[in-house]
Symmetry: D3
Subunit: 239 residues, 6 copies
């Protein structure tokens, strides 16, 4: 159950590695569109420095406000290439993650962290190039008193994440792809990029989206009226 | 009327090009001061990457939450050197603008976008050096179902913008100069900069604002009392 | 009294210079921990550009919304190496500080500003490398009409600051060290860093925090149960 | 110009009294719809107590953060039946309005206040039944140092208000009707209410909006597919 | 999948009616505790008027920003005693629900609405005693252009809701009980209330929680030290 | 030190009882003004129901996010007539206080609670008429794992509170009066009320604040210019 504490699952079924690799070629916006416009995390999660991009299966953490104990439990259970995702039982900005845990996570193979809590040692993390998407930068220390869970379903920044789902994060934010949809989404993303490449070329040459996408009739039907200038639209529509 | 939908105005009266060029030499703070401390957009609008600065006449868009149709209409109506400004009928963080529209806008001549909504493909936009000031970075896709307007008066981030007004945006935010005031504001901004240059030199040499601006008497009249140290102010004012 | 207006204190007792220098070797997170997890400013204060780090005794300002008069008073009273800290009588994002005051502050010796208000001319400040931690970037101009105080106790972003206390600010935020604790905190910070260096090495080699910190028994006592996989935890705990 | 200070206009052209009275029969939501879904103030403006409803021509105030001087200027210029509307030059929650000004406003004939700032003495105002829509309840005192304007165009909570426009405020928030549209909007509001009354009766009898508004075909065209139950939609659409 | 559009499920498995009735005797806080401290919606959802309390199976709606079409679809699919719960594809405060839909929902048997969007006609809803928990009161009109879903899993205010789960809402907020846990949670809630009744009596007589719950030793172990007065704790602990 | 954990002080010096009683006659706004416009808590603290008003010496609590252990410690240390004030080590909305603790606090004599955290069981608290000013209504349960302090100086909602200081709370919010200033503030508040009573009478008779307070000259000096109507101010000032 979402939000259940006291559980650590050793082995999870991760998304297919080849499909994860295929998804890793695309950005968050493309994958979100290719999935049918779902899976986005709320935009209050921001990268602690610009330019990072990661893609990997989720190891999930459920934690309580001000308590980062479960991150140590997760360190043992993650595999090379994983992305750690942390949800909390209530809103919390405390600095649950810093350079020591990043050192541990990196040594164990994690690519980065997506956390619905705070992060600290951000200059060190940037120097290490260990990316974090967090809701706050805050040095506030945390305790190790209450168990949460690792590798159970969580909600992070409004998104449902099952262990092993694929997490893609870049400057635009974070998106989750359910592990069983990873293959089809990678295919759809590639198709979308191919189509966009053509449109990008046409748009770059000055051609209009109005014409490329055939919008003019629909705009008129939806009620858009063109006027030659401000004066004329105070009188009536232009022909 | 503010917020009217269904109107696209082909030709707008833009601020005088020489005056726009003159304004473009100054930053947002200087222009805001030179106008008499008006015209600022709310500070929640932030550039998606640091270091950009643009100045140009406004092509305005009025859009509905989650619907970016009008941006395509605007692409046709903008001229080289314009700045596109988008207001919405209610608060919305969706990713109304991304690299395809930026490619189109650039091809048509736009300098950048100021949007009271979300923006996506931010890494691409930075690589293109196409600046956007937005209320959120969010990959959320948008629809094309409801018409808004292009080139009607709008409110964006609390500022009233008429089509053709001058928009200046830099790291400090965004300011609008009414098109008929562009000339006088450019003159006032130059005067202010000249005056500030002198004061900057004096301040840089260690001279105090208290003396340069003659504040000491007014401070005393307004009730400021100096004490030698903490102990003495618990007893009474120093002489 | 906190929030009293009309007082300017010329001479304050500053933290010991050697102790300030010792503290300057550590980051905000380390000092916060070394003090016993106190002294942090709220995380809504953010640096206007990344990468800055300062440490120095506080010259304090109490100001009213939209009024930056007291910053000029502070310019006279600060000494080389000071950090100016500004609290307000109510929430305000106006641009109380810009490049002219930064020029003055630098000429007088200030290292930077921590302000519970807005900041402007941020591109200039970055070019000058004069760091500011602020609650907003906003070009809004301010007046000089109401006196506040300089060098009295203030609350800034939820932290109590006495004049002469040590302020440390970096990418993680801001922390205040009471002047009489500066020495012991520097010692404790050094001890913490030494200990962390050892743990960093072990963690970097792949050793787990669970083992280094001996957490396994406490986790079990606190109720954490391991399961081999999702299927098994629907049945019961693994052995 | 929006945001200009130093102007007090004695006589304004108010909306027609009969049209104001006609508008006063309708709620905010109905008028917003009748106008074509425009004119709403941002929802952060809330009534200080539930159950109040007012409608009258706007006397406008432009004020600076923490300064309520202009409210006294407005007291002289308002007429019986007016609604005072206050915008600010930057975000401010200070208690610009309390029971003394309410006593004055009531004696001069004002129906209530809509303020993009804070309000205090709220228990007294409720006892007087003098309604206020404000962005905060805050006892913070204000000064009288900087002139703003009275009866110039303002922006309040994202809405443009010209002096004499009609303001309607109730538990749902606040809406402005341009004075020259008051008559037509009252007529449209009446028509909408008549139509809604019929639909309310049908809906109240259990008839569905799907049938009353003929939505079923459009929903199907837009892609809605019905399934008998969860099991079946994992297989495919129901017939 | 969470966030999938275009699906309407006619028949859902609802929680057992007797168990729903049993849960209806308890408040949100009690049920949250009885479930093991899970299931709460984020506290930004607030009742539009105080004093309401509802309990019933969830009919779920997934809607897009500014579009309330799916509420009409839900009206047909709900049964007497249901609670409608609405999640959105991105943050939106528009007034998706008002008195007409409330009239329809009531005629069809719904007890109330929990909505991660805005609500209007709040005075009418209060007069009807049709309770709504919403993220905003906002009159903003909505469109009917894009299909979402009805009776698929949704996330509302950070909580995962499956169709047929039990929703309890009162002045404290909203909680969801998975339908298969309704019986056990009702039993646990009753046990908790019985235990609390005893403790309430003891606490009401002046007995201390410190003694009732035996906290004194644990507090001491955790490091709490008592001092007789402020002076003494500057010297050391009292005995 | 602010924010120190592990301390419980049994006996505190409370403000003089007669002075507390004297202060209790005045509202928050009056006391704030009488003190020289200081001492207010941030306006995000709101009463959980309208109409309550309390005044008493502060028993202070310093607590950690999600942990309400110290409230039980405070229950023992409070005296009849006290107001409990709770600050936290970081932002937290969890429901630290509910009807059981309210029953205990009432039995021990507390008048109410001011808390920079969440509150639950609000319908019960209203029925008991036990008032709480809180930053959120949230049912989220809390733990008892980490000691904070009782009766040490705290910061709550941006205000510094020493144990024994006087807390006044009403519909306008919360204010703290340092215990050694209680007498003088009560006198100043009475003087202010007497003066306001006279002004209220004059304002109520229709006399203007402009005349009562002699503002007309100062307004003109500050730059306010009157115009007869909109047309004339586009030409120039009226005489």
């Amino acid at each position: 159950m979402i939000g259940q504490s006291g559980i650590a699952v050793r082995t999870i079924r991760r998304a297919d590695a080849a499909q994860v690799a295929a998804l890793g070629k695309f950005g968050v916006a493309t994958i979100h569109e290719a999935m049918g416009r779902v899976g986005l995390f709320a935009p209050y999660l921001r990268p602690i420095y610009p330019g990072a991009k990661i893609c990997g299966p989720a190891v999930t953490i459920f934690a309580h406000p001000g308590d980062n104990w479960m991150l140590h439990v997760a360190a043992e259970l993650l595999l090379k290439g994983d992305v750690v995702v942390l949800g909390t039982s209530s809103t919390n900005n405390d600095g649950m993650f810093g350079d020591l845990l990043a050192t541990s996570f990196r040594a164990r193979g994690a690519l980065g962290l997506v956390s619905d809590a705070g992060c600290r040692d951000t200059a060190d993390l940037k120097a290490m190039d260990f990316p974090v998407w967090a809701r706050a930068v805050h040095a506030k220390g945390t305790i190790k008193a209450t168990v949460g869970s690792v590798n159970t379903p969580i909600i992070c920044a409004g998104a449902l994440v099952n262990p092993g789902d694929v997490i893609v994060a870049d400057d635009d934010g974070v998106v989750v792809v359910p592990k069983d949809r990873a293959g089809e989404v990678a295919v759809a993303a590639a198709a979308r990029e191919a189509k966009e490449a053509k449109n990008r070329e046409r748009l770059g040459s000055g051609e209009l989206g109005l014409d490329i996408y055939g919008m003019r009739d629909n705009l008129a039907k939806a009620g858009l009226v063109y006027f030659d200038d401000e004066a004329s639209y105070l009188k009536g529509p232009s022909v």
